[in-house]
């Protein structure tokens, strides 16, 4: 159900995504994340088009961490910030982080080889039903995504919504 991808640029780093719906304890999870008690980024899945979007954000976060150039305080907050099309940190958290009333969450963990313990820890903390990560597209709110990323109808003619979103994320530093 979870999805693990090795970062080719950082071969000892892997990114694992886990998706939950019917989540009952979003507020508690958010609080734990703020206190640093959860080892992962908690993302609002309605803003995600595809797991690849998260990989692009995670790769950039690890890259900036290794270069000493992160814009936020931790790797996990940096992943959330990298999803955003602009450089406003608090807005990024509002849009892409989870809110107390949310009933679904994507958890993103960056780890080395063995993840089983980390994953078990996350599954234990989330009160909800785990579903396949690929199903994130069934939760995404494409109207909201298009609006936030300012995606034009013409642009969708020359590629997918995912293409458009990823391009915005990857180029935002020079726009």
């Amino acid at each position: 159900m979870h999805l693990t991808q090795e970062l080719e640029l950082f071969p000892d780093h892997r990114v694992t995504q886990m998706l939950f719906k019917e989540v009952k304890n979003a507020a508690g999870l958010r609080q734990s994340a703020v206190e640093g008690k959860i080892n992962g980024a908690l993302i609002n899945p309605t803003m995600l088009v595809n797991p690849f979007q998260v990989l692009v954000a995670a790769n950039k976060a690890v890259h900036l961490q290794k270069s000493g150039k992160m814009k936020t305080r931790s790797l996990y907050s940096e992943i959330i910030f990298n999803l955003s099309p602009n450089n406003n940190i608090s807005e990024a958290f509002k849009r892409f982080g989870i809110s107390d009333g949310d009933d679904s969450v994507m958890v993103v963990v960056v780890h080395n080889k063995d993840e089983s313990e980390l994953l078990a820890d996350i599954t234990a903390k989330v009160e909800g039903r785990q579903i396949p990560v690929e199903d994130v597209s069934s939760l995404s709110d494409s109207a909201k995504i298009k609006k936030l990323y300012k995606i034009t109808p013409q642009e969708e003619k020359c590629g997918t919504l995912l293409d458009a979103v990823v391009c915005r994320m990857a180029t935002k530093d020079v726009m």
Binding site: L9, Q154, K157, C158, G159, C167
Partner: protein, 236 residues
């Protein structure tokens, strides 16, 4: 911490397939986050002053990325940008899988015996349309050649199967003169790379003219630039 050297990108590139070694950049093929990817690396030019070199290289990387986004926003196909490393001046781009440069396509079509004319005319028309659209967005490509256009092959709709690449010398301008020079650069490259294509290039320009409301001023400038070019070559 801020001074820390992150060598991840150069390390990856030392182990992947080199597709092209150019004068300004090396182009590699690899897999990135599980997807087929092209990495374009701009390397230092030893004859330039290091500070100036660094600035120029940075600017070209930024220019390339910006123009790709500007084109895509307007519905002009260009590769998706996956990741940019501004320290090693590398851009990670979607690989247009199974594509062929327009250059190679024209060359191989010209070589084959059978009914080449129609197909190339259709292509010339498409190129004219796309360049008109690009100029209407005020993007000046700066290095228009048939090698910097890819033909995507596959079931996708024919609208989006021409992909523009190599925007490192691009910039934004609304001036007809800049657009005229852009076309002049293409004309020179086109006619010298592909023998006996004067009529074909005329088709391209005709389609450009028909596709943009602002084309007449651009074509007028193109004529002026041609004349200047000819005069210069008569003197020199």
């Amino acid at each position: 911490m801020a001074q820390e050297k992150n060598m991840a990108v150069p390390q990856l590139l030392s182990n992947v397939e080199l597709v092209k070694q150019g004068a300004e950049a090396r182009v590699y093929r690899t897999e990135f986050l599980g997807k087929p990817t092209i990495v374009k690396e701009r390397f230092p030019k030893r004859y330039r002053h290091p500070v100036l070199d660094q600035k120029l290289t940075h600017r070209r990387t930024v220019q390339e990325v910006r123009s790709i986004l500007r084109c895509r926003r307007a519905g002009i196909s260009a590769p998706v940008v996956y990741f940019v490393d501004y320290m090693s001046h590398c851009i990670f781009l979607e690989e247009v899988v199974g594509s062929l440069t327009v250059c190679d396509h024209i060359a191989s079509t010209q070589q084959s015996e059978s009914c080449q004319d129609q197909e190339l005319e259709w292509l010339a028309q498409r190129v004219g349309q796309i360049l008109a659209k690009m100029h209407d967005e005020d993007v000046i490509h700066g290095d228009l050649t048939t090698s910097n256009m890819l033909l995507r092959r596959g079931p996708e709709d024919p609208e989006s199967n021409l992909v523009l690449i190599d925007f490192g010398l691009s910039y934004i301008s609304a001036l007809p003169e800049d657009k005229g020079v852009d076309l002049y650069v293409l004309e020179k490259a086109f006619l010298s790379t592909h023998p006996n294509t004067e009529a074909l290039f005329e088709k391209l320009l005709k389609s450009y003219t028909a596709s943009s409301k602002k084309s007449s001023a651009v074509i007028k400038k193109l004529d002026e630039v041609r004349l200047r070019g000819r005069k210069r070559s008569m003197v020199g």
